[in-house]
Amino acid sequence: MKAVGARLPRYDGIAHVTGRTVFVDDVRIPGTLWVKALRSPSHHAKITKLDTEPAERMKGVHAVVTHKDVPLNVYGHLSALGIPGDEPLLAEDVVRYKGQPIAIVAAESEELARAAVEAIVLSLDEQPALFDIRKAFDPDAPQVHHWGNWYPHFEAEMDRRQIRKGDIDAAFDQADTIVQGVYRPAAIEHVPLETQVCQVVPEPNGRLTIYSCTQALYFSMGVVAAHLQQPLNKFKFVGGTVGGGFGGKVDTATETMCCLLALKSGKPVKWRWTREEEFLCSSTRAPWHMEIADAVSKDGWILGRKMLTLHDSGAYCRFSPYGLTKHSFHHTGAYTIPNLSFDGYVVFTNRVPTTAMRGFGVTSVSFATETHLSRIAEVLGIDPFELRLKNANRIGDTSPNGVVYTDPSTVPTIQAIADSLGHELPGEYRAMTPAQREGQWLPDHLVSQLGNPEEH
């Protein structure tokens, strides 16, 4: 029988329903130490004193690790993409968000590890904190990041991501109406049912076996290897069975620290985040601030779009520059808009760093641009299905960065929704296909943006 297209049973289905799937927390290793972290109680502060000795002296505490124990404490997870590192594995002289790890301990029980964390002496000099990305650019805003309050290292050391296409000023001159709006989706949690969890076993041959819930075994192995400055054959990542991820388990939030504790103590260690840590200290989806102004004609063509995006990156950049770039590439949504001017900034604040989450970079822009389109339909008095179909991207149209669309399905998906709701479309919209534009669907303003789909 055919395997592709068939509703074959899940490979892991029987294991899941019988409770026999083994997640990281279910791996039993005798003699394992519990890990807990000393986390910053402050949103922004200088560390004036950090004394781990009282914890180290406690009976049953086998290792305490601070930034001094990390061979390469600051490593950029996306350095391969030209995004430099800014985030220390363990805080050095400053903490920039509440919950930031400062020191980690391994002890013989969870309770003891918690007590050891409490025994560490920490003194902080509180600094002014910044939470509002809209205020980050104010001259008197507190500086919250050593690079400044927004990411300055895009290509050519630009401090923003730009998209320019066509002639934006001409489009706004020609417009009958300009519709402007602001969109602000919230930070949300990934909420995997399995919290971050890791176990590390130091093997007799000097290798480390890392039981990990990472969504990306090799990526996380690369991160650990970089921090520890060791070759990949020093590590064996074991995992591949993850209790939900949604983007948050790309962060490699526990593995490196557990390796350091396993090496220092010479014993297996385990770190299972509490649900409260997961809610309060794990990275989130980013909050965004998006302003859109669309130049539209009275018959419903979108002639041009200006957009300004502020991405709340939290205290460090993690994957945010990547997310903003992806966001910019998709800021026209499923439509063809020939004239564009986009500026986007990755802005630092004193909240938990934000990271990838399902739909990374695009969930925000889909909300903004689609809600904006609904408003345009309302302003112009045009059926929202027809407005969308009219501007839908078609074969041969070009994307914001000049790439030709070869197989867009915007038209059939919209038609399918209209059908399922029993929404009557006029004949010309019912008959529309994604085929290359012609006739009434190729007005003058869309001619110059056309590309050749055969070349791609």
Binding site: P9, A15, V17, V24, P192, V238
Partner: protein
């Protein structure tokens, strides 16, 4: 202290206030109840205590001394699946699988108490169980199917000789 877990009487040494969840997982090595939140908020740790669904993370072990504890292991096995296990498999009601065991145990109590196939009733009965993957649709489908008495053709199977897991087959 003695507990009867999945029909087998077990002696336990954990301190009396220890949550049943950790007695099961850490002392008895019955790992199907999951430590999803330890706040009573997610249902991943739900087990049956004398047939009633209980959050094992909220239950001091001493309060269930002498009770019959049932986990998903006690409902059926890979070789002999319980109807709900068949239904969850057939309907793809598990994605990551982490909430699944708690869901099945709670659904078992729902069915045993005469619950029917009405979707709202199922959603109400299992309303405290969080699943982040499935959107719940297929979970409700599976429970409704069992309530209706559907039977499932599971002759078409995935390879059961190997369950790739963290750390290999168990």
């Amino acid at each position: 202290m003695n507990l009867t877990v999945n029909g087998v009487e077990r002696e336990v040494e954990s301190a009396p206030l220890t949550p049943l969840l950790f007695v099961l997982r850490d002392e008895l090595e019955i790992e199907s109840p999951k430590a999803g939140c330890q706040q009573g908020g997610c249902g991943a740790c739900t087990v049956l205590v004398d047939g009633e669904p209980r959050r094992s993370c909220l239950t001091p072990v001493v309060t269930v001394e002498g009770s019959q504890i049932t986990t998903v292991e006690g409902l059926g096995s890979a070789e002999s699946l319980a109807p709900l296990q068949e239904a969850f498999t057939h309907h793809y009601a598990a994605q990551c699988g982490f909430c699944t065991t708690g869901m099945i145990v709670a659904a078992h109590a729902y069915i045993e108490h005469g619950g029917g196939e009405d979707r709202e009733q199922i959603q109400h009965a299992l309303g405290g169980h969080v699943c982040r993957c499935t959107g719940y649709v297929k979970i409700v489908d599976a429970i409704a199917a069992v309530a209706r008495g559907d039977s499932f053709d599971l002759t078409l199977t995935a390879p059961s000789h190997d369950m790739t897991n963290v750390g290999g087959a168990k």
